[in-house]
């Protein structure tokens, strides 16, 4: 029981990170129907920017942790959003309106480019960061010595994710920007005819997705304490899987898919074997898609006749 609870907590934490990245995939897919394979790299760049900011602040002698975290959050989100915006502007916008595979190939190219760029400029070695946020609460401890712990970091991750999700849902459902995004999602041409600046709306979508990926990057950095230029690949693939599992194009679906993938991975590693956790995650994806082709919360596309 205790072991189960502990795995549950770990799974939710991991799932939150996947979920935040998955939102970027699902939003971009929703609005322009394209899989932005460079999104995992955006996440990686986010964590690198966070690490850089951390080291700069440390060298300036700023060590008051809440302030440091706040500055890192703003800096990393800002710069990563700028990356997201530039990538869309440089690599995807010129190809809009071309055939469907062109942006997909560009996205893969962009992903490789960004990985190599970070590898060359930052070096290939892993970058460690000593644990910054320690401590936690012991929820349960059984007689046979198994302890259920919820660390402060895990709490921060879960709370941040919940807050961001709530904020994000509000933006999409209640603000004018969100309405524009939904309008572009349904019919770009018509949205343009109502005076909506479609290009700008798409840019903002990339910016928002990149901002969330940056938050995920910061949390990854603080939680695992180790990053390298390659972390974006697997995290990206997992988050993409999460988006598909939840129903691509659906925001709550992305979050749910993220949680599902996180939980499957941790439980599989906890009860079966760590080596096969990815196999488990992808197998379950395959099974779900056989029975629910549009994912858990995705709406099936209805072809009007």
């Amino acid at each position: 029981m205790e072991y189960f609870l502990q795995q549950l907590i770990n799974g939710i934490t991991l799932g939150s990170i996947y979920g935040l990245i998955a939102i970027g995939y699902t939003m971009v897919y929703g609005i322009i129907g394209m899989i932005n394979f460079a999104h995992g790299e955006i996440f990686m760049i986010g964590s690198f920017i966070a690490l850089t900011a951390f080291l700069v602040l440390a060298s300036l002698g700023i060590t008051f942790l809440p302030l440091v975290l706040l500055i890192i959050l703003i800096v990393a989100m800002g710069f990563t959003a700028l990356w997201g915006w530039s990538i869309e502007r440089v690599a995807y916008r010129p190809l809009r309106g071309s055939f469907r595979l062109a942006p997909l190939i560009t996205a893969i190219g962009m992903s490789i480019f960004l990985q190599n760029f970070v590898q060359v400029t930052q070096g290939a070695r892993i970058k460690p960061l000593p644990p910054q946020i320690t401590g936690g609460v012991t929820l349960l401890s059984s007689s046979d010595g198994i302890v259920v712990q919820l660390s402060t970091m895990q709490m921060i991750i879960i709370v941040t994710t919940v807050v961001l999700m709530a904020g994000f849902t509000t933006v999409i459902n209640r603000t004018s920007l969100g309405r524009q995004q939904r309008a572009c999602e349904q019919d770009q041409k018509m949205a343009a005819l109502l005076g909506v600046n479609v290009d700008r709306t798409i840019s903002l979508t990339f910016v928002m997705g990149a901002g969330l990926a940056a938050v995920a990057g910061i949390m990854y950095l603080l939680y695992y304490g180790v990053i390298d230029f390659y972390i974006g690949f697997l995290a990206g693939v997992k988050a993409f899987t999460a988006a598909v599992l939840g129903g691509i194009g659906s925001l709550p679906g992305a979050m749910l898919g993220g949680l599902a993938i996180g939980l499957i991975e941790t439980f599989w590693s906890g009860y079966f074997s760590v080596e096969y956790k990815d196999v488990a995650a992808f197998s379950i994806l395959a099974i779900v898609l056989i029975f629910m082709p549009s994912g858990l919360l995705g709406r099936p596309e209805v072809e009007k006749v």
Partner: protein, 324 residues
């Protein structure tokens, strides 16, 4: 309106000059020129494939015309000289106090609505089906809302300026909903409305963009007679109370003859007639086009008409009755 100089030549809101649109080897519109009078309801009619929708697509920026100039004039008394000056300057639009001119063929689609003030509806309805009726109308007002919300940031903080703008937007949406008889459906998904209601919603949404020219592509298609009558009332209300000029494509001659001030007839991408409803009704070329007479027989039809006791309503009744 005197026969000598009708409003559309005196004070046009839209002037289309030598518009040509080619798709590969096919010339869909061939050097077409016409005016749309300010405050008029202008109907663009013609048999299927005559190029009516292509004209619309050029005016609303869906297509870039192969040749031609499309000038939208806001404010009374914009001279042709002002349009020519703008044309040579290479700009998209120019302002002179109250008056402004927009060259639509130079503008991209969202700017035509946002800056120039042209709104349109479609032959096949294009609502945002997954959004509610009210949201459909709010999307159309996003420009003001976005500015007021400081690009969402103030909006999230709920600052008073944004609240006021949001309140005003909702008020306007509700105003148009009540005029389109859709108030009770405000929170339903747009896709759930009946066909006639969707058509009215599309017009209401177009009106929420504050247009000076409203382009309606077959607004009465598929409507039953009662819905069609409601639609006429709505279109007349828009023109009379809001001073918006209306350009419409319509096959339902009942609607056309009842509400139009000015009718332009196209056939094979060319204008074959242009004038008041009465003038067009008795134009032999129009009758020939609608009845499918060969060009060579037009003269005969014309003669027949002349020999008849003047063009009686009986002859045009044929033209009305036959739908291509």
């Amino acid at each position: 309106m005197s026969e000598m100089s009708p409003r559309w030549t005196q004070d046009p809101v839209l002037k289309v000059e030598n518009l040509t649109m080619r798709f590969g080897g096919l010339t869909a519109i061939d050097s077409l020129s016409f005016n749309v009078g300010r405050g008029d309801i202008t109907a663009l009619i013609g048999p299927n494939g005559a190029g009516k929708t292509t004209v619309f697509n050029c005016v609303t920026g869906f297509y870039k015309p192969t040749e031609g100039r499309i000038s939208l004039r806001r404010g009374r008394g914009v001279s042709d000289a002002m349009v020519d000056e703008l044309t040579t300057s290479g700009n998209q639009f120019s302002r002179d106090g109250e008056r402004s001119v927009f060259l639509l063929e130079r503008m991209s689609d969202f700017k035509i609505t946002e800056v120039a003030g042209v709104a349109r509806t479609f032959q096949n309805i294009r609502l945002f089906g997954g959004m509610t009726v009210l949201e459909n109308l709010l999307v159309a007002q996003h420009n003001r809302l976005m500015a007021a919300s400081g690009y969402t940031i103030f909006g999230l903080l709920g600052l008073p300026g944004y609240r006021r703008a949001a309140e005003a937007a909702k008020e306007k949406a509700i105003f148009w909903l009540s005029h389109a008889n859709l108030l009770d459906r405000a929170d339903d998904p747009a896709a759930d409305l009946s066909y006639g209601a969707q058509r009215r919603l599309e017009i209401a949404r177009a009106m929420c963009t504050d247009p000076v020219l409203l382009c309606l592509d077959e607004p009465a298609a598929g409507l039953n007679p009662r819905e069609s009558a409601d639609l006429n009332t709505l279109i007349k209300y828009i023109r009379d109370e809001h001073g918006v000029s209306v350009l419409l494509i319509e096959h339902d001659m009942g609607v056309v003859m009842e509400i139009s001030d000015h009718v332009i007839v196209l056939d094979y991408g060319r204008k074959i007639s242009d004038g008041t409803t009465d003038a067009v009704r008795s134009d032999p070329k129009v009758i020939a086009a609608y009845l499918g007479v060969d060009d060579t027989e037009v003269d005969e039809v014309e003669n027949d008409l002349d020999h008849d006791v003047a063009p009686t309503p009986a002859a045009p009744a044929n033209a009305e009755g036959v739908r291509p």
